[in-house]
């Protein structure tokens, strides 16, 4: 599959001294929900801005849907919800969407049909005729999301879409991301809320100082390792020896509890079947994936101990 986003040694230096993005090389496949992670000041927002033509790269190249980002036409099928956005607040909600629909080249007929649809999706139908100046922060974030997804973009960039939202708002953003993915939209998500990223993203990249340090699916990044906690009615040396065939490590945790480290989740049902076959009663078999937060700290060089790495 062609890549939706491709960058090659993309670099941004401000005023010839301040390096915002060192050298960004990455690929995002079409239809992926991609999490872009890194500490503050890692160059995430600058990278997004270079992809969207807001900041001119100092060096390197980037393609959006196969076109160089320096061409405005590359952004025809791209949606963007900026981070610290402020919109023309004297516009009414529907006028605001109409403006952005026009800028994206949507036809009048298409806009008339799509705008009420999007207002409905983000729950703002009732305030369609109110000016944005009367909107709360959460409502603005929602209308921003509607703006970003209005023209059914092939790629959508969401820069901190859930910041400042209450749990309902976050759920709405999550649903919108899922809906977009189901329509085949590539979602590029920049978020500090790792829990959000964990539940929505297919793949993530960790960046620091404007360089991709690691990229891949979350299981890939955690080395494909899954940990599983088992609680059984008894724990005999034979059982432990038997379990050792399935698992990389077997650590007894208590009288009847053990923690297994496995190459993948798909072994769990087999282990369960084997245990039942041995006449063991299984009270619990709980997989523990390395949490994204733990991975983040590990990859970014945080002082995380192995214990903290499991959720």
């Amino acid at each position: 599959m062609a890549n939706a986003i491709e960058t090659f040694e993309l670099r941004k230096v401000y005023n010839e001294t301040k390096v915002a993005v060192q050298s960004l090389t990455m690929q995002v496949g079409q239809g992926e929900v991609f999490g872009f992670l890194g500490p503050n000041g890692a160059g995430k927002t600058t990278s997004i801005k270079m992809l969207l033509g807001l900041v001119r790269p100092t060096a390197g190249s980037a393609l959006l849907l196969g076109r160089p980002v320096s061409e405005p036409t590359a952004r025809r099928q791209v949606g963007f919800l900026p981070e610290h956005f402020r919109f023309h607040e004297w516009l009414r909600a529907e006028e605001f969407l109409d403006l952005h629909g026009q800028l994206c080249g949507m036809s009048r007929v298409d806009r008339i049909q799509r705008i009420p649809e999007m207002l409905e999706q983000v729950g703002l139908t009732e305030v369609a005729r109110k000016p944005l100046s009367t909107f709360s922060k959460g409502m603005l974030q929602r209308i921003g999301l509607a703006m970003a997804l209005l023209h059914r973009p092939a790629v959508v960039f969401l820069d901190e879409p859930t910041s400042g939202l209450d749990p309902f708002g976050r759920l709405l953003v999550r649903d919108a991301i899922r809906a977009a993915r189901d329509e085949g939209t590539t979602v590029f998500l920049n978020s500090h809320l790792l829990g959000e990223v964990e539940v929505t993203c297919d793949r993530v990249a960790f960046i620091r100082k404007g360089q991709v340090i690691r990229a891949g699916t979350i299981p890939e990044l955690s080395g494909g390792l899954t940990r599983a906690r088992l609680r059984l009615d008894r724990l005999t040396p034979e059982l432990l020896a038997g379990l050792a065939q399935w698992a990389n490590t077997v650590e007894p945790m208590g009288e009847c509890e053990i923690m297994l480290s496995l190459p993948g989740e798909d072994r769990l049902p087999e282990i369960n079947a084997w245990l039942v076959g041995q006449g063991v009663r299984v009270y619990a078999l709980v997989p523990h994936q390395l949490s994204l937060e733990a991975l983040f700290l590990q990859i970014m060089g945080g002082q995380a101990s192995t214990e903290e790495l499991t959720s």
Partner: protein
């Protein structure tokens, strides 16, 4: 090409709507309308007085002079309103969108930076032109209806005033792509002030026959061809006999046609420069 025109059109309509929503347009028209009414009343009573007190043989000439004088004075106010409204509406047009990050949602669309500048320029230019034409025609109409006076070159005066507005617009919008709103406002008004004083220095230079003063004045009007264009417009509004004294409404030294050509290039050049500077900026 069609794509560009479409995007420019969207920004132009947005600019128009913003002026309307923020009530700038209505305040400008309201103030202008109030002034026209005041002017009409004043002119009417002066006319009545003149009819009563001046002997019949001399009346038509006196009326012609008074009409020319009052029309020029009135147009000076309109000229001032045009400059003020142009600067105040466009001073933060781009800079405020950059500082508030509003530009992020716009410039990330399939639009070129120059299309944004062009669209805004066209929006403001249309408003300024309509405003100038409406106000000038209203004032000239009052003078025609009450005093029966037709200035020597009404159309030329009108076009020059429009050009003045557009020149001020270009320099303000250019500043807005480069500076913060406040800095831009300070710079534009300073330029206007220098050109204004420079205009007077030039007038005095002509009267006291000082070449240095004249050159200084001309140089200052090259920075912002606002006041100089006004003087040219004023000379189109009154019969030649009236010129010569030093008032803002009279013209001892009027710019040449070359200055009009310079102003056209100035307007176009700064518009292009603004398009270029915005395309070089990072947001």
């Amino acid at each position: 090409m069609i794509q560009s025109l479409h995007q420019i059109g969207v920004i132009t309509r947005l600019t128009f709507r913003e002026a309307q929503r923020r009530r700038l347009l209505w305040i400008g028209l309201g103030l202008g309308g109030a002034f026209v009414i005041l002017f009409a009343l004043g002119f009417y009573f002066i006319y009545q007085d003149t009819v009563q007190h001046v002997s019949e043989s001399y009346r038509s000439e006196a009326m012609r002079q008074a009409s020319a004088m009052l029309l020029t004075a009135g147009m000076y106010v309109i000229n001032f309103l045009i400059v003020m409204i142009t600067v105040l509406t466009s001073v933060g047009s781009i800079s405020s969108e950059i500082s508030s990050n509003t530009i992020h949602a716009i410039a990330s669309k399939p639009i070129r930076r120059w299309e944004i500048v062009m669209g805004k320029w066209l929006g403001f230019a249309t408003m300024i032109t309509i405003y100038t034409v409406l106000m000038s025609l209203a004032l000239m109409g009052v003078v025609l209806i009450i005093g029966g006076y037709v200035p020597p070159k009404p159309l030329a005066a009108l076009l020059i005033l429009v050009l003045e507005g557009l020149a001020v617009l270009s320099v303000t919008l250019f500043g807005s792509t480069l500076l913060s709103t406040l800095a831009n406002g300070v710079v534009v008004f300073m330029l206007y002030g220098v050109a204004f004083i420079g205009g007077w220095v030039e007038q005095i230079g002509v009267i006291v026959n000082s070449q240095v003063a004249r050159d200084l004045g001309i140089a200052s009007s090259l920075l912002l061809p606002g006041e100089a264009l006004w003087r040219l417009a004023a000379s189109c509004l009154q019969p030649p006999g009236l010129m010569g004294s030093i008032t803002p409404f009279a013209v001892a030294s009027q710019p040449t046609q070359a200055f009009v050509v310079y102003s056209l290039f100035y307007t176009l050049g700064l518009l292009l420069l603004g398009m270029w500077t915005l395309s070089q900026r990072d947001f």
